[in-house]
């Protein structure tokens, strides 16, 4: 791959380039809007379920009335997390991945309708799965709680969606290469493999109990670190150079970041079962791999930071960069926490810290990055600008003040919980009391997150219905005049 090709996405656009990009965007508009809209509906659903689940942790009798009496934390927790991951995260990743792939490969999407049909089946699968969990029919296994009907549907529709990404990549013109494509192809390669393996090895006909539990731990980590993380890293790597208006600091470093993730990612997951009845070397290998995953984090974070270098003032003005910047902070924090949990099983195993980590990774990192991408993509698809910088600011700060503490409370609460578990004289009541505060704090955070996403959904629907601002200038968080020539650069023409 030549250095030239890596700079391709950020060259100053000629009128022909702009026309080509507009044509590419037109071809992806329908499926991208479909996936984003339904993804955001699932995000709202999972926020409601997550809020209810959080309340039930400190007030188990909440909403214990009539027909709802069976919907306890044991059902709400998997329902919320599966809805968040498969409903929102996957659809956001598909939408953003599809859009970036068409742009990077300079290939218009030829069958947008196939993708929309596949998307309908995906949504149907998630709906069936979530309803099954809520009505008391969940299957065992972390992130595998959907029943068989649901997973078969998800697998089939994912395969249909992936085919187009691979075809676009295979038929791209010479020189249209960028590291983001590797991340997308990688994620679309790892996930089906993980998903099929996990579901086959945990299906009651073939499963052997202990092995099924191991496979599910391996899978649950894999979904996070080999699908969500690469999709978000690919997105950030695509958008940061565009907004800053200069090429990636080091292309070889970006490639190194990708291949080190590929090398270590598949080995993680079993550290969760350390001390369990499986061969000792297996969780040990996973722990080591989880720590080694700090290498790609270092590559990516340093590269992104150096690309932005002296232009961190753009975080003030560009909504996209602001969300991606916040995501990047949690990218580093969550990987450090993941390494810490892998190294301190005696303190943190089976505690709330794991839930905190997963929330941080899925929401504070992945979702924030996707929000940033949506702020970038939607004006280009719909031809109008975001209506209100105020709503973007509310969305951002409510997520920062609400979303971040959830992860932090659960991680710190989990460490206290683990510490209390190790004190011999503690009864279980002491442990429950220990977590009470953290869980109440998390509930408060959920209220903020729900509010933030309601505002965002409203804003999104406005622009999707072309009710946004008609302007040549992008909606920025502070006006161009406040920041001089810097912010003029991120007007539509330069950035398109």
């Amino acid at each position: 791959m030549s250095q030239d090709s890596s700079t391709a996405p950020i060259e100053r656009a000629t009128p022909e380039d702009l026309r080509e990009r507009a044509a590419l965007d037109r071809s992806t508009k329908l499926p991208v809007l479909f996936f984003l809209t339904s993804g955001l509906v699932w995000l709202l659903i999972s926020c409601v379920l997550g809020l209810l689940a959080s309340i039930k942790l400190h007030t188990p009798g909440f909403l214990d009335i009539g027909l709802l009496s069976g919907i306890n934390w044991g059902r709400l927790q998997p329902a919320y997390f599966n809805a968040l991951v498969y409903g929102w995260c996957f659809q956001a990743a598909m939408a953003v991945g599809l859009w970036m792939m068409a742009r990077l490969c300079r290939q218009p999407l030829k069958n947008p309708l196939t993708l929309v049909v596949a998307g309908h089946f995906w949504n149907l699968g998630v709906t069936i799965g979530v309803l099954q969990i809520l009505t008391g029919g969940q299957a065992p296994g972390d992130l595998l709680e959907f029943g068989r009907t649901a997973w078969l549907m998800l697998f089939a529709s994912f395969a249909l969606i992936v085919v187009w990404q691979v075809l676009m990549f295979a038929s791209r013109p010479k020189g249209a290469d960028y590291v983001t494509q590797l991340y997308i192809i990688g994620a679309c390669f790892w996930f089906p493999w993980l998903f099929l393996t996990a579901n086959v090895f945990t299906s009651p006909q073939t499963a052997s109990g202990l092995h099924a539990a191991m496979t599910s731990a391996w899978y649950a980590n894999g979904v996070l670190f080999l699908f969500l993380v690469p999709m978000a890293v690919g997105t950030a790597t695509y958008l940061i150079p565009k907004i800053v208006g200069r090429p990636l600091h080091s292309y070889p470093l970006a490639i190194a970041g990708f291949w080190s993730l590929a090398l270590f990612g598949g080995w993680t997951g079993l550290q969760k079962l350390i001390g369990g009845p499986l061969p000792t070397w297996m969780p040990a290998v996973s722990s080591a791999a989880q720590v080694l995953l700090l290498i790609p984090v270092l590559c990516v974070a340093a590269n992104h930071f150096m690309t932005v270098r002296d232009r961190h003032d753009l975080v003030q003005t560009s909504p996209t960069l602001r969300f991606i910047f916040a995501g990047a902070v949690f990218y580093v924090i969550s990987h450090v926490v993941a390494a810490f949990l892998a190294l301190s099983p005696g303190l943190t195993q089976y505690t709330a810290a794991w839930d905190g980590l997963r929330f941080m990774l899925v929401y504070s990192y992945f979702s924030m990055t996707m929000f940033g991408a949506i702020y970038f993509i939607l004006p280009r698809l719909t031809g109008c600008e975001w209506l209100s910088p105020g709503m973007i600011r509310v969305h951002f700060w409510a997520n920062i003040y609400g979303g971040s503490p959830i992860g932090v409370f659960l991680i710190i609460g989990g460490i206290f919980q683990g510490n209390a578990m190790n004190v011999w004289s503690n009864g279980f009541g002491a442990l429950t009391d220990m977590l009470h505060g953290a869980y109440i704090g998390a509930t408060l955070g959920w209220v903020f997150v729900l509010a933030a996403n309601l505002v965002f959904f409203f804003h999104f629907i406005l622009i999707a219905l072309r009710l946004g601002r008609r302007s040549e200038r992008a909606t920025l968080l502070t006006s161009a005049a406040d920041h001089g020539p810097a912010s003029v650069m991120i007007t539509k023409g330069a950035e398109a």
């Binding site: 306890n72 001390g275 429950t432």
Partner: protein
């Protein structure tokens, strides 16, 4: 980078962990069968290890998964090097176990999950570990009452009521001998009784059978009993101090 070389790279890096962590262990674990205790080798127990699960108990385990009990409860006793003393069983997590439980038990072994379609190792400990839940309650009725109203026993408990697995009905003729005694908000009115469903009964059957006290056969690496120790009874009963 061409699609072919990219796919080759992905295949090479991902197939290794897949084969080593998932596929290879399966071939070793899928065909395990119960092991007979061998008296000649020094085992003092008769029969097979682990004790097999009845059909009711297997159905109960399914309920345990479906209702999400597995989300809050683990079923694993970790070794000494993890979590301080490592022997979670000894702690008074639920006072009742002190009176009934043997003072020592062993760390969980792979064979403990034999015959399960999914090992209920669990995710987190919002509730106490249930590897030895069978020792916490002396009767089925007491366990059913606990499932119906967990806060009656421990007011700090964050365990949700499972009352959707019970039904409230008017007593007709003789009251049911399965009817549970309970007080508080969801107690039965005059002339009513609360009876468990089949699901609740299966679940309690399963939970009462959770006793990891069968000694590990010597052929699987179990410790030889010391000559001074009294002979251990059959694994189905609560074993005394080993």
């Amino acid at each position: 980078m061409s699609l072919k070389s990219l796919l080759f790279g992905l295949l090479a890096t991902f197939a290794a962990p897949w084969l080593v962590l998932v596929v290879r262990p399966y071939s070793g674990m899928a065909h395990l069968a119960p092991v007979a205790y061998d008296e000649e080798a020094g085992d003092e127990t008769k029969g097979f290890f682990p004790p097999t699960r009845s059909a009711d108990q297997a159905r109960g385990q399914l309920i345990y998964f479906q209702q999400g009990c597995v989300q809050c409860h683990t079923q694993v006793i970790r070794p000494q090097y993890l979590g301080g003393d490592g022997d979670e069983f000894k702690r008074n997590w639920g006072e009742a176990q002190d009176a009934l439980a043997p003072k020592r038990t062993r760390q969980t072994a792979p064979y403990d999950y034999l015959g399960d379609s999914f090992a209920a190792i669990g995710e987190r400990r919002n509730g106490p570990d249930l590897a030895n839940a069978g020792f916490r309650f002396s009767t089925r009725q007491a366990f059913l009452e606990h499932l119906y109203n967990p806060q009656a026993r421990y007011d700090w408990s964050s365990c949700p009521s499972q009352r959707h697995l019970f039904s409230k009905r008017t007593i007709q003729g003789q009251p049911s001998n399965l009817a549970i005694k309970t007080t508080g908000k969801h107690a039965p009115n005059e002339g009513e009784e609360i009876v468990p469903s089949t699901e609740a009964l299966d679940l309690v059957d399963y939970l009462l059978a959770l006793k990891r006290n069968a000694p590990l056969p010597i052929s699987l690496g179990g410790a030889k009993p010391t000559p001074a120790a009294p002979a251990a009874p059959a694994p189905a009963l609560a074993a005394p101090v080993k």
